[in-house]
Symmetry: C2
Subunit: 304 residues, 2 copies
């Protein structure tokens, strides 16, 4: 098979890095994004520009999309000049946005009627994973279509798993986010407790991080919180979107998730305080506003 | 310095293993526990029996206690025939029960007036850690007393950390439990979501456990839940005790911990359903009773 002609839509923090890796491995890429200036670095590296998603589809064998919200996915695929308006039989469309499992299934079904494949392939690993081509990619949809685009996915990620039919990539991503909702609350509350108890918090963190409390959030966000670094690896407002999708799915399934619901509320509080564009570790700031625990206040409760 | 004469009080699941390691390394041990029959295996290995905590104190240089609730700690130390009634100047008493930081401080203060040292040294690592002498031990209290008993602690644990003054061991253990409260909720809700979404749950678990959702709970309890193994490594009712202590401390400090409070409530629900003597992964059962997801029901919501 000749080299796949790649289409790319969405050049945000994640998409720019990911598309850059595809280009760097020699795939020809045609790109579109809402704000053309954001695609400039990719155009300089050899990508060609298309004015609409439909133009991307007509020039590509496989199109990869990573946009913002489920509504953006709908518009990109089903809008007036959307991908499906120009898709050809046998073409493969891969949505890497974290989005609704139900939408992923709907797109796969509509496209299937045209003999077009739509895969859902959300990613995990954040901006660092995107930059280092170390993303985890969770794929749902037709297996042979998955195998066709696998060489492209391999330029962006390390662990690429096909999990089943349409929607199973998005569902797996939801499982991932539900765990993180729990680890983030546990980590932020634990650090707050440690400061207020007057502990040597770095020593405490070092002590607990290799035992039964060990988790990626503690390892990666704990040290950032200690040095008051709330810069985004993963935005609060994106996490709110993901948790909201998961909550809607659980309601549809007829099940209840008290922990997930609480995390969603706590992140809504965090956004309401103006921290939506900070990283998810900014949940700490929300807890702090119950009682500040900056360096000067450490051990104000003075118990140790 | 001649070999420390060790006193030991408390021979439950944890204590029996721990005391066994001390004996195995050649320390002379005098033991007491509420139910003498539970000490028999240790007596057969060479420990000698004492009828009361006071008798243990009078025959030892350092006494280690690991009992049940804070009230048991109070009784063991301050009861009519408690340790402090027979303690001598220079003697070291080490409470390894997970208990109240405030009680640890009170005991250290009262004992200090008698020139007796009390250290708080709760452990993490569960029954497996106790059996394999791989516990993490978090120690608060006088540093020179800590150094004196360190050779004994080293027979039971791998990571032994002195964290500061009296109570700092207990506070660090609370930080540890607060993180675990979050990881357990996240893990159990994630698995429930996965089953109800109709995912291949082992494949999902394998996919997410090496990314940003990685945590000890997912690695250690996830597979047990998949094979419906709810046997205790760490009892639900002990976790309820720990979370209750942490909540009381946060209230005393004047701070709020919504996640910790929710976890406490969810584990109270789990105990109310009769699962108090199962392992902490039995939180799954409580969530399931909202909707069962045993093998036969997998994917009943049938979405993938």
């Amino acid at each position: 098979m000749s080299t796949l002609r790649v289409g790319w839509i969405g050049t945000g923090v994640m998409g720019s890095h990911m598309c850059g890796h595809v280009l760097a491995r020699g795939f020809p890429v045609v790109v579109h994004t809402r704000t053309k200036s954001k695609a400039e670095p990719l155009l300089e590296k050899g990508a060609t520009w298309a004015d609409h998603p439909a133009d991307v589809a007509s020039q590509s064998d496989a199109v990869f999309t990573i946009v913002g919200l489920p509504d953006d996915v709908r518009e990109t695929y089903m809008g007036p000049r959307g991908l499906l308006s120009a898709a050809r039989p046998g073409q493969i469309l891969v949505d890497m946005t974290t989005s609704q499992p139900a939408l992923a299934k709907q797109l796969a079904m509509i496209a299937g009627a045209m003999n077009v494949f739509v895969l859902d392939a959300p990613v995990s690993g954040g901006d660092v994973g995107a930059r280092n081509a170390a993303l985890s990619i969770m794929v749902g949809g037709d297996r042979s279509a998955f195998e066709t685009v696998l060489p492209v996915l391999q330029t962006m990620g390390k662990r690429i798993t096909h999990l089943g039919g349409p929607g199973s990539g998005q569902h797996t991503k939801m499982c991932n986010q539900i765990v993180i909702a729990g680890t983030m609350i546990g980590m932020c509350e634990s650090l707050l407790y440690g400061y207020r108890a007057g502990l040597d918090v770095p020593a405490m963190l070092e002590c607990i991080r290799s035992g039964a409390a060990a988790c990626w959030s503690l390892d990666n966000y704990g040290p950032r919180v200690l040095r008051r670094d709330f810069a985004p690896g993963f935005f609060v407002e994106h996490f709110i979107k993901d948790l909201g999708i998961a909550l809607a799915e659980t309601e549809r399934m007829g099940i209840a998730m008290p922990g997930l619901a609480l995390a969603h509320q706590m992140y809504l509080m965090t956004r309401a305080r103006g921290y939506g564009r900070l990283g998810v570790q900014a949940l700490t700031l929300t807890l702090e506003e119950i009682v500040r625990f900056e360096a000067g206040d450490r051990g104000a409760a003075g118990s140790v």
